[in-house]
């Protein structure tokens, strides 16, 4: 009986593994066939050697970095303040942070272009830097549902009310409380939010395309419609980057000593 139960659970597990890995393996195998008749990394070399890949990827990484910084600076104090002073507002804030999942990006970006075009009161789209800033705000809106939830969950694990009062009684102001206490204590949550933001920004197409910025998303789409083997190679590279990010988070978690007890 036990042997049979085990057999079925292994079968289910095996089916799951096949379902998830078979397409990946297929894609990987296909990406190696750029040279007729033999396996090679030619497609990878083509992708990595393409100056456009390098430029767009670098651009998106930089955008992701600024989006993360802006997102953390915006969300952490907000989530902290709502938890500390306005707990009744939490459902409202949660609803607002969920809106980007409901409103299509195309609607948001058209709103942006209408609001901030060159003949508006704040002509952000008039310059490259202005458009970059607008794009960063757009990205942070897209990442808001994930960022807010990650940080809010992180805040739940510490007694922020008492810690805040303890810090205040020791003479600390809000800035010190925020950067010396709250942020370090929700670091892992912030990192997971940052990772999700990174993934969103790297793959995002609509905003970048409509604001006409040289981001990685539009490059991937262009590649997909113009090449055969390279898109598969690109997808494998994207997976590798994703997994590297996850490994990095694990590593950082392990290095911050005080987090060990929680694990």
């Amino acid at each position: 009986m036990i042997g049979r139960a085990k057999f079925w659970s292994w079968l289910a597990f095996g089916a799951g593994v096949l379902y998830f890995f078979l397409p990946l393996i297929g894609m990987f195998e296909f990406s190696l066939r750029a040279k007729r008749g033999e396996y090679s990394f030619l497609a990878y070399a083509n992708v990595l050697g393409d100056p456009q890949f390098q430029q767009t990827f670098l651009y998106s990484v930089i955008m992701a970095f600024f989006t993360i910084v802006w997102g953390v600076l915006l969300v952490t104090p907000t989530a902290f303040w709502v938890r500390l002073k306005m707990p009744k507002l939490r459902p409202v804030i949660e609803f607002i942070t969920l809106l980007p999942l409901v409103i299509p990006p195309i609607v948001i970006v058209f709103g942006y272009i209408r609001m901030y075009n060159t003949s508006s009161w704040l002509p952000l789209t008039g310059t490259a830097v202005g458009t970059n800033i607008l794009l960063m705000f757009g990205y942070s809106v897209l990442a808001l549902p994930y960022m807010y939830r990650a940080i809010d969950t992180g805040l739940r694990t510490i007694d922020i009310a008492t810690l805040t009062e303890a810090a205040q009684s020791l003479g600390a102001g809000w800035f010190t409380i925020m950067f010396r206490l709250i942020l370090p204590n929700v670091l892992v949550a912030v990192l997971s939010g940052a990772f999700l933001t990174f993934a969103i920004v790297i793959g995002e197409y609509v905003f970048a395309a409509l604001l006409n910025r040289p981001a990685f998303g539009p490059y991937m789409v262009w590649m997909g419609s113009n090449k055969a083997y390279e898109p598969a190679a690109l997808a494998v590279i994207a997976f590798a980057i994703t997994w590297a990010c996850m490994a990095l988070i694990q590593l950082i978690t392990r290095f911050s000593k005080h987090e060990r007890a929680k694990g």
């Binding site: 510490i158 008492t162 009062e165 303890a166 810090a167 003479g171 206490l181 911050s256």
Partner: protein, 351 residues
């Protein structure tokens, strides 16, 4: 003028008045306990002194300075919380040095103070540990050191011992009192534990329903409670209804016996007053000064080690009796008919 003055303090949450016209003057170096059941407003008073709650009325002054509207981080007070509230991302030494770092003190000065404070709480070698590596008692001592490191004008302790287990609680309360005396720091201590309040304090404030029912030294609070609430809350009591026979002489009729109390009674002849008796004032054997005797039947005997807690029925009134254990005198059996011997001066008249 006293060092810490609370004047006509008021606090309402919506229509709910939780602190009513609260007055208290504390001298420099005094250890004052706010004692009362949960919801009596004691924590709210403490939090108003700390600045975590706005006052709805009244004034708070520390060392002659009106601090009523100052923010918590401007008041220079030290606070210890029930939940320790150590910063989990900082080491013990960094926790203790936090206030000094915020104040912009030099690195060497911080290190010196931290060393001194860790020495003071008896944990000189644990500076590099993180809070989660410490026991509850150690964490609370670190919290105390952290609060004291900034040399606060007033130390506020919000039920600091409630989360600890019994043995640690008793030893730590001795330590806290000892450190407080050594530093001579004015201290306000909130607790619902009467034993803590009585054993640690210079003066105890018994609070009920947002009002200070009685302020006094522990000995006075226990032996001369002014109100029924204070008498009931602090220690155990048996209460009797007695009829005043002669108010000036202090004689009352209790059941069949006429008793002369130690003091005159503030009530008219013929009125009923409540008398109270501590369990340790009732004796089963006759002794010097015992001028009241009541016939009673033993209803319950609890042997607790050093103390034997007995309940007896004296003409329909339940009386608690505490007697010390003596190896040669076994406790009386339930149902035994005994005589209760009491000195009339031990009766407490309740308002």
């Amino acid at each position: 003028m006293s060092f810490l003055v609370l004047q006509n303090l008021e606090k309402s949450f919506g229509p709910n008045r939780v602190v009513k016209d609260f007055n208290l003057s504390i001298e420099k170096g005094e250890f004052i306990s706010l004692l009362g059941p949960s919801g009596c407003g004691k924590t709210t008073v403490l939090r108003m002194v700390a600045g975590f709650e706005d006052t709805s009325g009244g004034m708070i002054a520390i060392d002659g300075q009106d601090v009523t509207v100052l923010r918590p981080n401007q008041r220079n007070i030290g606070m210890v919380f029930q939940a320790y509230a150590l910063f989990p991302n900082l080491t013990v030494a960094q926790n203790v040095g936090f206030g000094l770092k915020v104040a912009g003190k030099s690195r060497s000065e911080i290190a010196a103070t931290v060393r001194e404070m860790l020495e003071l709480i008896g944990l000189p070698t644990l500076g590099n540990r993180f809070p989660f590596q410490l026991s509850g008692g150690q964490q609370q001592r670190v919290a105390l050191a952290r609060a004291l490191a900034v040399r606060p004008r007033v130390l506020l302790l919000d039920e600091p011992l409630s989360a600890l287990d019994a043995k640690i609680r008793v030893s730590l309360r001795g330590e806290i009192r000892e450190i407080q005396k050594r530093l001579g720091i004015t201290t306000l201590f909130v607790t619902h534990d009467q034993e803590e309040a009585l054993s640690m304090s210079d003066r105890v404030v018994v609070m009920n329903g947002g009002v200070a029912e009685q302020v006094g030294e522990p000995f006075q609070i226990y032996n001369r409670p002014k109100t029924k609430f204070v008498a009931d809350f602090v220690g155990t009591l048996s209460t009797f209804d007695a009829v005043v026979e002669d108010a000036a002489m202090g004689t009352v009729r209790l059941g069949d016996a006429s008793i002369t109390l130690a003091e005159p009674i503030a009530a008219a002849n013929g009125q009923t007053v409540a008398l109270a008796l501590r369990p340790e004032a009732v004796h089963l054997t006759e002794g010097p000064g015992h001028n009241v005797s009541l016939a009673a039947t033993i209803t319950e005997v609890a042997f607790m080690g050093s103390v034997i807690r007995i309940k007896a029925n004296a003409g329909g009134i339940e009386v608690s009796i505490d007697m010390f254990n003596r190896p040669d005198v076994p406790p009386p059996p339930v149902g035994a008919r005994v005589t209760l011997n009491i000195a009339s001066g031990d009766f407490i008249v309740l308002a």
